[in-house]
C-alpha cells in the first residue's frame, strides 16, 4: 500500500512543527526518516497515524485521503505504529498482550459472552509472536521483559493489527550496538515477509545506510533531502545540518 504525504503542516502554539512536507513512500518500500532532534520526526508519525490532527495537507493511503479519519479508522485502513518508548500492557503476559490486541482488532473488545480469548485469536497471536521471535517469552509478564523484548512486543502489537504501512519510531532506541543490528535485521525480515511499506526513524547512521533503500531527511519540520543512501551521504546540506564532516566524526 503506498503512502503519500502532500503539503502536511502542523503548528503548535507559534511553532511550525511540520512545515509543508510532501513525501512519497512507494508500496513495499523500506525507508528511513532521519534528522536532528526536534526535526519533527515523531510528530510526523503522529500526524500520519492520527494521534494529532494536521492543520492542512493530505495523507493519501493508496490514493485515498485519510486525514479526516480518526486514529482508529486509520488503523483499520492499515496504518500501524510502534512507539519510541515501548507501549505495552505491563501486567499482562506477552501472549495476553497479543491476544488482547488481536481481539481489539477484530472488534470483539466488548464481548461479554465468551471467555477470553475468543476463538481464533490465540492462533493469530501465536503467529505474530513467532514473526517477531517472542515465542519463548510468551508467558512472561511484559513489565519484566528485557528492553529489547519490550520493543519487539511493541512492534508485535502493531503487527497484530495487520497493518499495510508500519511506522517504527526508533526501533533500536536504548539498545547496545549488537542488539541494534539484531533488531534491525528482524525488522528487515518482517518487512520482507509481510510485504509491508515500512518507514522507520533511526539515529544510528550505520544502520540507516545499510538497511534503508530510501532515506528522507527532516530538519526544522521540513524535508531537507531525500534519496538513496549514497545520495544522502554526499548531500552537502545534509552533511552540514546533520551528519557533520569526516573531521567532526573523528
Amino acid at each position: 500500500m503506498k503512502l503519500e504525504i502532500k503539503n502536511l503542516t502542523k503548528t503548535f502554539g507559534g511553532v511550525r512543527a511540520i512545515d509543508d512536507i510532501s513525501l512519497h513512500f512507494p508500496s513495499g518500500s523500506l525507508s528511513a526518516v532521519i534528522g536532528p532532534n526536534g526535526a519533527g520526526k515523531s510528530t510526523f508519525f503522529n500526524l500520519i497515524s492520527g494521534a494529532f490532527a494536521a492543520d492542512s495537507g493530505e495523507v493519501l493511503l493508496d490514493g485515498r485521503n485519510i486525514l479526516r479519519l480518526s486514529k482508529t479508522e486509520r488503523m483499520h485502513r492499515g496504518i500501524g505504529r510502534a512507539f519510541q518508548v515501548a507501549s505495552c500492557f505491563p501486567t499482562m503476559t506477552v501472549a495476553e498482550n497479543l491476544m488482547a490486541s488481536v481481539t481489539a482488532h477484530l472488534g470483539r473488545w466488548g464481548n461479554l459472552a465468551c471467555r477470553f480469548p475468543p476463538p481464533g485469536v490465540r492462533e493469530r497471536a501465536d503467529t505474530v509472536m513467532e514473526l517477531v521471535g517472542l515465542t519463548q517469552v510468551a508467558n512472561v509478564r511484559a513489565a519484566i521483559l528485557s528492553h529489547g523484548d519490550q520493543k519487539l512486543l511493541d512492534i508485535a502489537i502493531a503487527l497484530a493489527l495487520e497493518p499495510k504501512v508500519l511506522l517504527l519510531d526508533e526501533p533500536t532506541a536504548g539498545m547496545g550496538p549488537e542488539e541494534r543490528w539484531r533488531m534491525i535485521e528482524r525488522v528487515r525480515a518482517l518487512w520482507e515477509q509481510q510485504k509491508l511499506t515500512l518507514v522507520f526513524i533511526e539515529h544510528d547512521m550505520d544502520i540507516v545506510f545499510k538497511v534503508a533503500s530510501t532515506i528522507r531527511v527532516l530538519c526544522y519540520g521540513r524535508v531537507l533531502a531525500e534519496g538513496t543512501p549514497d545520495e544522502i551521504r554526499s548531500n552537502p546540506a545534509v552533511i552540514e545540518a546533520y551528519l557533520g564532516t569526516e573531521a567532526d566524526a573523528a
Binding site: K71, M99, A100, T103, W109, G110, N111, C114, R115, F116
Partner: protein
Amino acid sequence: MKGRPGLRDAAMAILALIVVLAIPLLHRSPAFEDFIIRLSAMALFATSLNLLVGNTGMVSFGHGLFYGLGAYAFALTMQMTDLPLPAAAVVAVLVTAFGALGVGAICVRLSTDYFAFITLAVQMLFYSIIISWQSLTGGDQGLRGGIPRREIFGFELASQLHLYQFCAVIAVFGLLALRHITASPFGQTLRMIRDNESRASFLGIVMWRARLIAFTIAGAFAGLGGVLAALFVSGAYPELADWPNSGQAIFAVMLGGINSFLGPVLGAMILLALNDVVTRFTEYHGLVLGMVILAFALGLRRGVLDFLRLAWPGHLK
C-alpha cells in the same frame, strides 16, 4: 489445569455452595449464619467495586450509592407492589443499573482524581435525598414496615436458615457471573485500559463506552448486594448509602487484593470479622479500624491474596 477454565470456575462455585449449604445441616450456629448472610451482601458489593478499581483502574469512592439504591428499591418495591420477591429483586437490580448508567454517563469522562470524589459527591446527593424524602424513605430512621411476603418458592425467608441459604446461592451465582465478566474479552479490555490507556485507544477501544459499561455492571451487582442487605435488616437504612460504607468497601478490596478475583471477598470477610471483634471490646471501632488501615496502607501495601499469589506463583485463582 488448562482445558475449560469456565467449567473449572463453575465447578469450584458449585463445590463452595455445597459446602456452605451443608454446614448448617451439620451444626447450627446463629452467629456464623448471620456472618455469612452479611458476608454475601458485602462480597457482592466489594467484588463489584473491584471491577472498577482493580480491573479498570477507576477508583470510585461512591459505590455505596448503588448498594443503598438496591436496598431501598427492593424494599420499596416489596412494600408498594404485590410483586413476588424474585421479581422485586430483579426490579431493584434494574433500577440500580439504570442509576449507574446515569451517574456513569456524567462521571466516566472525568480524570481519576476527580472521579473519586465526584462519585462520592453523587453518593452524598443520594444520601441527602434519602434523608430528606421522609414520606418515601422514612428519613434518617430508615424504611419502616419491614419487608412483607419474604418468601420464595415457598421458603419463608424470615427463617434465618432459609435466608442463609438464599443469600449463599445468590452470592455464589452473582460472583460466578462477575467472574465470567472479568474473564471475558471485555474484562481483558478493562485491564488494557487500566494498564495503558493510550495504547488501548490506539487499538480502537472506545474508552468512555467501556468504562460506562463497567460502571453500570458494577452498580448493578452492588445493587444485588443491597437487595441481600435489605433482606438482612428487613428494610433499608440510610447507613447503607453513607460514605463510610463506601470506605469500608474500598478497604475490603485493598485488604483482600485488587489483583485477585476473590480478593475482595476475602477482604470483606476479614473486615466484617474485624468489625465484629472490635465492637465487642470497644465503642471506638473507628479508631481501631483507622489504625489497621494505616498499618495496611503504609506497611503491607498489597492485599492478602495478592501477597499470597506472589509468594506462591502457579496458583491461578
